[in-house]
């Protein structure tokens, strides 16, 4: 629906200064990508607006069903920068943990909030600068941090119906991934060896050209050989945006990290390709 969106934003731009932000509420099962792409692809819209963040509201009561029967639901989770698990008062704490783990399996990078009646501090959903290259700071997936301490252990393929008595709470250790989503994954890449820009750019451009329809989001912070500055990039499907960000600091570990979130991504191929970009 890009044409309609462009037309409406063109209209709104005539009232510039009379509003603070534009919230685009898509229909319940819309694909957020074409909406996001409009902000990068259309010259008029892109020049006058800035995409702040994609916020997904997940209904705690029904999310598991939707993840099963509506592929768009996974898209919306995978694409999000901020996810509200709403109606938390309607499900048990144990179920909530499981829902959050299911979300994390699809998108470990989004900021997740639990809400009742979508009650949340406005600053948590507006003014996030999630597409701002300067803000691609935290590429640590949330399941490796202490934030979510209790996630249920879960056998692969056993999607639901397990009893509470079987639940085994424990803190997350390094890289323990309890859920694996069959369709949507993230591939996290990391190396402390400098990359060769003459290898990396052709590789990543080819990757999004060939796999772009399955790559929902990607972002990265890169350390290039003989380059004193950090290079940051982000992308939506086939569109990539990147720039030098700032000089590496003395006290900073010079390493390259990137993440690709998408549908049935060829993880081995992506890993091998990334490795081949090492200078």
């Amino acid at each position: 629906m890009r044409g309609d969106l462009v037309r409406i934003i063109d209209g709104l731009m005539r009232r510039k200064g009379k509003f603070d932000a534009i919230i685009v509420e898509t229909t319940g099962l819309a694909d957020p990508a074409p909406v996001a792409q409009t902000f990068f692809m259309d010259d008029g819209v892109g020049a006058k607006t800035k995409l702040d963040a994609v916020v997904t509201v997940a209904d705690a009561l029904w999310l598991k069903d939707r993840l099963r029967d509506a592929p768009e639901a996974k898209n919306q989770i995978a694409f999000a920068d901020v996810i509200l698990i709403n109606k938390t008062d309607l499900v048990s704490p144990g179920d909530l943990d499981e829902i959050e783990a299911r979300i994390r399996a699809i998108n470990p990078y989004a900021k997740v909030h639990r809400t009742e009646r979508a009650s949340i501090d406005i600053a948590e959903v507006l003014g996030r600068n999630a597409f701002d290259l300067d803000r691609i700071l935290d590429l640590e997936p949330a399941f490796l941090t202490a934030e979510e301490t209790h996630v249920h252990e879960h056998d692969h393929g056993q999607e639901h119906g397990h009893e509470h008595g079987e639940h085994h709470h424990h803190s997350h250790g390094n890289g323990l991934k309890h859920y694996h989503d069959e369709d949507m994954q993230s591939v996290a890449l990391r190396t402390d060896k400098p990359l060769d820009p003459d290898k990396f750019f052709p590789w990543v451009q080819d990757l999004v050209a060939t796999e772009g329809k399955d790559i929902l989001r990607c972002k990265g912070i890169l350390s290039f050989k003989d380059d004193p500055e950090r290079f940051v990039f982000q992308g939506v499907h086939m569109i990539l945006d990147g720039d030098h960000q700032r000089a590496w600091r003395e006290d900073e570990k010079r390493e390259s990290r990137a993440v690709f979130i998408g549908r049935k991504l060829p993880e081995d191929k992506i890993r091998a390709g990334f490795e081949s970009c090492i200078a």
Partner: protein
Amino acid sequence: MSDTSAPIPSLADRARPIEAGAPVVGVHFFGATPVFVLGEEALLFAPADGERRVTIHGGAILASKSDGTRIVTGGDDGKLVATDADGSHQVIATDDKKRWIDQVALGPDGAVAWSEGKVAHVRTKKGELRSFEAPSTVAGLAFAPKGLRAAIAHYNGATLWFPNAAGAAPQKFEWKGSHLGVTFSPDGKFLITTMQESALHGWRIADGQHMRMTGYSARVRSLGWTAGGAFLATSGSEQLILWPFDGKDGPMRRQPKMLAASKARVTMMACHPRQPVVAVGYADGAVLLVRIDDGALIKARQADSQPISALGWDTSGQMLAFGTELGAAGVLTL
């Protein structure tokens, strides 16, 4: 061309500056009086002897057209307003759900067309009202040069509608994608749409033959026919693009003429009403006049980094008015 050749002769300091004070989204003339359409609420009448703001809408002005006797505007207040040369104005249609009226077209015989959402309306000169529901949101509206035929641009093509011929089947022209604007060639033989994807699409009306006009660096927002209809002039590139329409095949298998090259993108253009000359407005604020025959240039406004957002000639072709996104405006008498 403008980058490398000798300095361009300039008439810029002869222009009369006008402080519009709001983004200018269109400009029309009543005789020698330029009237600037502001982004919100008002028209600015700017005759040489004093400016006057006339408030006509309760919000953004989304579309404007003029036939020289009236300016018809659509707004996000759901109103269609006709304003006369003396500033008097009347609401000629109101959408009861306050939907945006964002497309307006004026017919050669006094008819007016407008749309909100998927529905296009025509009011004939006699005051008869006709409506037509398009397959998707109406994104462009135009009358054919002769007779009461209207073209509607929408998703996946354009539709020709015959508001006065009850029962006449609309004629469909299909091409996948989002079509945002539409125009007929002055001889009525071709229908051209601007597309979301930085391209034009065209059909020869007689046989539906497609033509695709690509190569733009941006979406085409401004287009018009040169005097006599020899060329379709368009914005959307770092030079003025002129597609030849002088033969029976239009631009098929032909290259466009490209004139008035610049580092800045062309944002608006306005064809001189009588001469083979086009006024070209750029994203850096410059306005150039270019003669189609030899590409000769005259500067009409100096670059100042305010993107040109409105450009128009009076009917005699003696006066050129321009306005910017940031609220500067001016009029140059040649």
